[in-house]
Symmetry: C2
Amino acid sequence: MPQIDSGRLLKDLYELRAIGAYRTGVHRPALSPEDIQSRRWLVEKMSAAGLRAEIDGIANVFGWSAAPGRKLLLGSHLETQPHSGWLDGAMGVIYGLETARVLGGGIDVAAWFDEEGWFGSFLGSRSFCGQVADAEIGAARRRGDGVPLTEALAAAGLAGRPRVQAEPGRHIGFLEAHIEQGAELELAGDRIGIVTAIVGSRRFRIVFEGAQNHAGTTRMARRKDAGVALTRLAGAIEDRFPSIAHERTVWTTGSISLDPGSPSIVPGRAEMVFQFRDTEPAILEALDAELATLIAAANLGPCAVTAIRTGTTAPAAMDPGFQAAIAASAARHAPGKFQHMPSGAGHDAQILSGIMSAGMMFVPSIGGISHHYSEDTSDGDLVLGCQVFVDAAAALLS
Amino acid sequence: MPQIDSGRLLKDLYELRAIGAYRTGVHRPALSPEDIQSRRWLVEKMSAAGLRAEIDGIANVFGWSAAPGRKLLLGSHLETQPHSGWLDGAMGVIYGLETARVLGGGIDVAAWFDEEGWFGSFLGSRSFCGQVADAEIGAARRRGDGVPLTEALAAAGLAGRPRVQAEPGRHIGFLEAHIEQGAELELAGDRIGIVTAIVGSRRFRIVFEGAQNHAGTTRMARRKDAGVALTRLAGAIEDRFPSIAHERTVWTTGSISLDPGSPSIVPGRAEMVFQFRDTEPAILEALDAELATLIAAANLGPCAVTAIRTGTTAPAAMDPGFQAAIAASAARHAPGKFQHMPSGAGHDAQILSGIMSAGMMFVPSIGGISHHYSEDTSDGDLVLGCQVFVDAAAALLS
């Protein structure tokens, strides 16, 4: 059975952690100097591992195997959320690199550009799957500083390079390792998660329009308070959604704003950003219908309430064969210490699953913390996870 | 019966409207160049009206009568809210000036500094009433640009001037005219409002502390969502307050913020700015107790909820004799077209009522609009209101 080199694995992870280090985590916005440095670092590592390495026209990093026959594609992403964790994305890339070294052929490795959504939604993996037109790239700007993607790519020396697309028939499928970003494994005392499906989501901006007025002189009975309409709808969602939701369904109001937001002015306008997620299309449909019902009811009040759909992603089931391969490997290395589970977060594997078989494996996140610099996983779990991953990859290749 | 000069009244109002004009309204932040210009303009007008005019060390403008005997003090304020109305404050000052001209003696006129709260709370009238220490002035900064009050006063050439305080025994009392800033008069077809009391208010910042988490991977049952705690409390307030409130009690959540305010992050912290107002101390007490009960109940949930009291003003009853004088004058000039009513907004008269008899008179606001540049009152109502005001002042003086 092929054995990983745990010292080499951890050394790679620590080298990568040093590029854009922030406290115990990392700050590598997509196409920041640190992000570009991490991509060049990976090219060197891939070349040293015997892969033909390249960065394509959308900053995806690839390491191609020269071995004959069909290949297994492995990987994740390099850029991070702001001041975020050192393993989110990076771990899956380095697991792919270590697997290529250990198995010695048949492994392609990818670091997908911008899984974290600085410039758009899954631009790197969607480009590889043929879902990104040049116009989308031309229009994309980085959140925060508004830098155009085309300028950022040119500054990285990538202007004019072709974007690599999937070569039909080359790959058996795509396998991605990632930190769990939740506390399910830790709470159960498990060390490996086998992802059954990646949740789909529906995202909305809900706008409330009332009438701005003086908060001292306008009687309650005559108000059209957009803020009250908002808190009433938010409350109704919390009341109604549990009766439709499954155990793992989640819904979140991430931001609220009242306009003009002054202590002594009745808000004339309000907005909330709302989303829900589940692995079952039927649940998503039922929640969507319930939200529409609640918004229709809200419109019977004094304010006009409109839900604007800002995004939809479909749930992505992971390939049963890939799940079985991970489970068999986990049973060997961590008997009784693994579980099947959905992924509540989005990942490049959900994009790849549209054109090839796909699978995902999780390792525990300490305290379930994610998207924060204190995100962490024990060295023991990192090493065990990589060994499980390599054996699963070997089984899928054979 | 003394007659006002309606052409002179409207000409004064239109000249003042031109200083800092913004669309159909005015933008005169306290101690802005336009605000200083308006104070100097008023000094000239007062002097021309035979008053001894001065601007004191906190930018209050006074016009003193040289006539023997006790005086009636009239006035309001000159600065405005941002991009706000042309009559809010200005009308009451010009009514005072016109009254001094028409009655020819026994009238003092004041334009109180910063009723609109750019640097603090009723600084000008509170200074006149002996309620402002030098330390408060030293610490005050203008909202928005943070300019220290002491610097702004020095730039206006007022550094080192004494602050004028009320001279015991000089005044019969204080009478203020103001636009209603609500729609009660218009809705009833009335032209004059006689203020019975100015509401008191209690103001709070309510803070919710939970746990920030990933919105995809954190199960609902394990969340400590500060935003949900906030919307639940806001809903409970809307459910409970009506059973305690009187017809004119008002309560308002003016702003809400969720932290970090990102679509895919469970808010770990949230804040709301909340206030309520009434003319009855007992109602204010009962609402205060109810809020405390609701916050105690909210603390049984997964988040910590704390209410920080940021301000309290006591209700101020208007003098019955002053009310009777306005009512008698209104009955003469607008028979059947006046009503007694509380003021839902705060005014300098509530400060002056602490040291002398005080009264307030309202004229209608078109559409009830206030604190917006489209605020307006018909010329007919402006002229009628001034005549009612002058006759009431004459009756109080005699």
